[in-house]
Symmetry: C2
Subunit: 170 residues, 2 copies
DNA sequence: TGGACCGTTCAATTTTTAATGAACTCTACG
DNA sequence: CGTAGAGTTCATTAAAAATTGAACGGTCCA
């Protein structure tokens, strides 16, 4: 009896409860930053793992595809949220999570926010040019005021970002 | 000739170029905050309009459905990003954009970020409980350290949010 | 040189999210 | 009351985003 039964037939690599919770916490967490769930899962598992993991570990343990993991790792690498390290198998690349909040936020600001702000600056330039063409004087005055307001916003944002980084920086 | 022709048959309510650019700027802009395009469009048009607009104006000029506009206005209201004001037609509700960055960011933090952080706090509590159950002592020590790290993150976030608001507050 | 294996890429697919529009409520007015 | 118009709701549909997986490129070693 019980031959081939399913009771307590645990998958060898399944996440333990603590890991499950941390992975899920990060999976939800990254969504406020508009990032895909899988990226949170990958970072979460690295965060909660004492030993470095290779791509294949992530594929098996999180049960997501090789493609997703590859892309997720690429993204986390550009953010500086993970580190490549040596591991048991020399053929593989192993990863560790970088657990400094400063690093994560810094990477996110650099890779995701700065570019938007740069393009915003250009678009404001274009807007200014458009406002200059406006014939109706009172309309022009109004538009001009609004564009000025936007420019002030951008300046404030530029001021806030480094401030955030400084506060996280100790 | 030219009776019923299409040349320069401009839609009476089409956006002018400046409006188009501002609407598009906000439509893209809100995406970094993970909000739907339509919300950016609505706020954008209110931002760039000298006079208050009613729902129907937004439906016609942005060419989006009544349902979307209704939901978008509801969201912007809870954020405090727009104001109800009087207008020509007493039967309708007119809206103006609130153009203080402080207000927008404050509303976003209050409505979108705080709730996440609250639930995060609860989940960390649950994690702590789970770690307490861990039998292996060295594993427990490791998990404990990580959970402590997460708690520190949360505290740092709580520190940063009011700071942001203060910097935008003048 | 060849084949085993790690990792990447990207077109196809699935899943998630946003937008639509018909049905509804509510109010004001005759 | 009854109807007309403003505004909301929500099931359906459409659009966007994430995920998959098969094909590919590179490298190491026999």
């Amino acid at each position: 009896m019980c031959l081939g039964g399913f009771v307590s037939e645990a998958k060898p690599n399944a996440l333990v409860e603590i890991e499950r919770q941390v992975v899920s916490l990060f999976a939800d967490g990254v969504r406020v930053a508009g990032l895909p769930r899988s990226i949170g899962e990958i970072y979460g598992l690295l965060f909660v793992s004492a030993d470095p993991l290779a791509m294949d570990d992530l594929v098996v343990r999180l049960n997501i595809s090789k493609g997703s993991v590859s892309q997720g790792l690429k993204f986390l690498r550009t953010l500086g949220a993970i580190r490549e390290v040596e591991g048991p198998d020399v053929r593989r690349t192993y990863y560790e999570g970088d657990i400094e909040l400063k690093k994560l936020v810094g990477g996110f600001i650099r890779e995701q926010m700065r570019p938007h702000m740069e393009s915003g600056k250009d678009r404001l330039k274009a807007l200014e040019a458009e406002v200059a063409k406006e014939e109706d004087e009172s309309k022009q005055a109004f538009y001009d005021e609004r564009v000025k307001k936007l420019e002030r916003w951008l300046k404030q944002a530029k001021l806030v970002l480094p401030l955030i980084q400084r506060v996280l920086g100790e």
